[in-house]
Symmetry: none
Subunit: 410 residues, 2 copies
């Protein structure tokens, strides 16, 4: 029997209630405690977060294990109580689901780029000069019409932003163990789609034939004359949040990968948000969703991670301040339990995701407050939950604080 | 799937880099926090360790589980990320490998002592009066020549210090499940080598015949007329640090058991160190090794444990001070990450290994400093990592701080 209570106990003890939980994920929120360089949370003026911190309890959680840096997928899954070590969720399926395209068990998806290749096959630009969405979308639709199927396998092409699109293969006997064709470098040709297991041989042949026909179709294009594929993946088998904890969840998120996570967990998606939305727009969508019969709200803010990746702690602080200004509107909704955190740390000085524990703030009637009065890494490390709280314990605590878990055993 | 990330993730995410990691193990370093009796770390004047403590982060780790006292083998394996509960590594194979003797899968080794027995077989001295190495070595070589094989099994005898030698059996169908012949007491006869499983019956017969011939050969000796065997063991199957984490490791250690651990993990051994070496000699060997293309350095200091076993906290403090005086030379090497710790606690008042969490100090660019300013048990308990950090998380954190782990998942 597993000792992960999300798996072993939640389906037995979770009960549906009217209480409403809000989980706010500021992507890449955490920084590195460093006397020489304040973190974005330390730089930001955020009186509303700090007021919540004073009333609630703080800590830092470990997404996977100490020292392990999570990608965005594993980071989010662990917050929601899904052990990332037991899941292999490809980026292809996350992005495809995030575009609102259904992916069923047995389908195979990949992330695709339009690219520019020279006559001899060498890649000149892996992103086709970041071709405009307005130009790329009709081209993707024409390509879809030109290659609707290969060898009995249905081929779907779903346009994304700029050079990006999602490829979906639907048919019997497919296998996602196919290697990337994107060499992740320019000046070299793209790779042939390689079967990584014998079971994937037919799928790799179908992909190769698709690419042959696609390149023939695109031959007249000056920029987008080539297709690169990566992240071949299928839909993993996992219980939804409704199956696991009788929740009625909804997501407010702007980017496909996070909507993909939400859809895999069976969340509805509140409309009205796009990558062009402001944080205030997202909170407006949250307000709309609040009137609906959901009891679990996931609000994702992307800007913190992008700023961290760029090494810009000041910009990251401004994103935190932007959300802080909207907190009075969120408080007015009177959520029963609020968890504010990140899906991983992205310290500006490191300019990348990191393994450092992720700060979190928990607020609610049954949360034991600590002595901390502001929301930042140092306060979280000194807070109620310390620096080494396991990610998979967040959901049980959040649901318990919301009165959604019955006792275990007589 | 295992949740030990050393096994499940490191082989996938570890990457070779130029950064250099130093792990300093002061054997049996930890003491017991006790208002009535300061620990050796509290007694020692160690300005250089304290300076590192101020810049870095402290904690105490749990070698196996709270309450479990490790031997030296399990203690070391856990620091290096090898779960001791999944490994049974006998003292025989550690000592034999430590003498520089190769042990292949299928071989069986044992630790051997020359001893003194009376005519009726009762043991008079389990160590043959601690016979001098100069006297014991030629005797061991003569014994080896007298009994080169038994029943098709090759017999090797490798002299150690004083009365100690290593016995190695090489041949087909051997099994290490043989009981000790050393009764761990004097005034009683030695034990017959007992097969602990049916598969070990032939091995036990070979050992019994070897002992019969050895005792006949030694009959004329006054001191060393008997042989005692213990710790029958074979080489366990385990990945090297190169296989697990793409490391290029080297060990600086004076005693065979620790060199045995190092060799099992695939470490090279830097020459120039012996049980007669001072701590300064070991640091000189470290300096030499630093010029070579290694990226993982294991420096072992024995004296702390021996002093703890003798109940002499002041002597233990002096060993710590001896290393502290050499730290400026180590700092001059500019290691990217340093871990200073013990393989277990050996509190002087207990005069034995103990289960108490083991103090550690972590230093490096991406280590989040805490508020602690000296390196001792109390400061470590109040430090960033607390008193209950799992040993198996040390390696992932150390490698992450050295930039040697890529992220997990998209």
């Amino acid at each position: 029997m597993t000792h992960d209570v999300n798996v072993a106990l939640l389906p037995r003890i979770a009960r549906q209630t009217d209480s409403k939980v809000l989980v706010v994920v500021m992507d890449g929120l955490g920084g590195v405690i460093d006397p020489a360089s304040p973190t974005a949370l330390e730089r930001a003026k955020k009186p509303n977060f700090d007021a919540w911190a004073k009333e609630g309890a703080l800590g830092r959680y470990v997404p996977i294990a100490p020292g392990i840096t999570p990608g965005s997928g594993p980071g989010h899954f662990s917050i929601f109580g899904y052990d990332p070590l037991g899941l292999e969720v490809g980026r292809g399926v996350l992005e495809t689901l995030g575009l609102g395209i259904d992916v069923s068990p047995g389908d195979v998806t990949a992330r695709a780029n339009f690219a520019t290749a020279a006559a001899d096959g060498r890649l000149l630009d892996r992103r086709a000069g970041r071709i405009a969405t307005e130009e790329a979308t009709p081209l993707a639709r024409a390509l879809a019409a030109a290659v609707p199927a290969v060898d009995g396998v249905r081929i779907e092409i779903h346009p994304g932003l700029q050079h990006r699109f999602a490829l979906v293969l639907r048919g019997a006997g497919l296998c996602d163990a196919v290697g990337d064709t994107d060499p992740q470098a320019e000046g070299v040709p793209s790779l042939a789609p390689a079967p990584l297991t014998p079971a994937a041989e037919r799928t790799a042949r179908v992909v190769a034939e698709f690419l042959r026909r696609a390149h023939a179709f695109l031959a007249g294009q000056t920029k987008a004359n080539h297709v690169l594929l990566r992240g071949f993946s299928g839909r993993p088998a996992m219980p939804t949040l409704a199956e696991r904890a009788h929740l009625r969840p909804v997501a407010i998120a702007a980017y496909p990968a996070y909507l993909g996570v939400a859809r895999l967990l069976g969340m509805d998606v509140e409309p009205g948000v796009s990558p062009k939305s402001t944080v205030a727009d997202e909170v407006t969508a949250l307000e709309k969703a609040w009137k609906k019969p959901y009891d679990f709200y996931f609000l994702h803010v992307k800007g913190t991670d992008s700023a961290g990746e760029d090494g810009d702690e000041d910009r990251k602080a401004r994103v935190i301040e932007e959300l802080d200004r909207e907190l009075p509107r969120i408080r007015a909704l009177a959520p029963d339990v609020v968890l504010v955190t990140g899906d991983h740390s992205t310290p500006g000085p490191l300019k990348a995701h990191s393994w450092h524990p992720v700060p979190f703030l928990l607020h609610g009637r049954w949360v034991e407050p600590d002595e901390q009065t502001r929301f930042d890494e140092r306060a979280c490390a000194a807070g109620r939950y310390g620096s080494w709280f396991p990610a998979l314990s967040l959901m049980p605590v959040v649901l318990a604080c919301a009165g959604k878990l019955a006792k275990f055993g007589a």
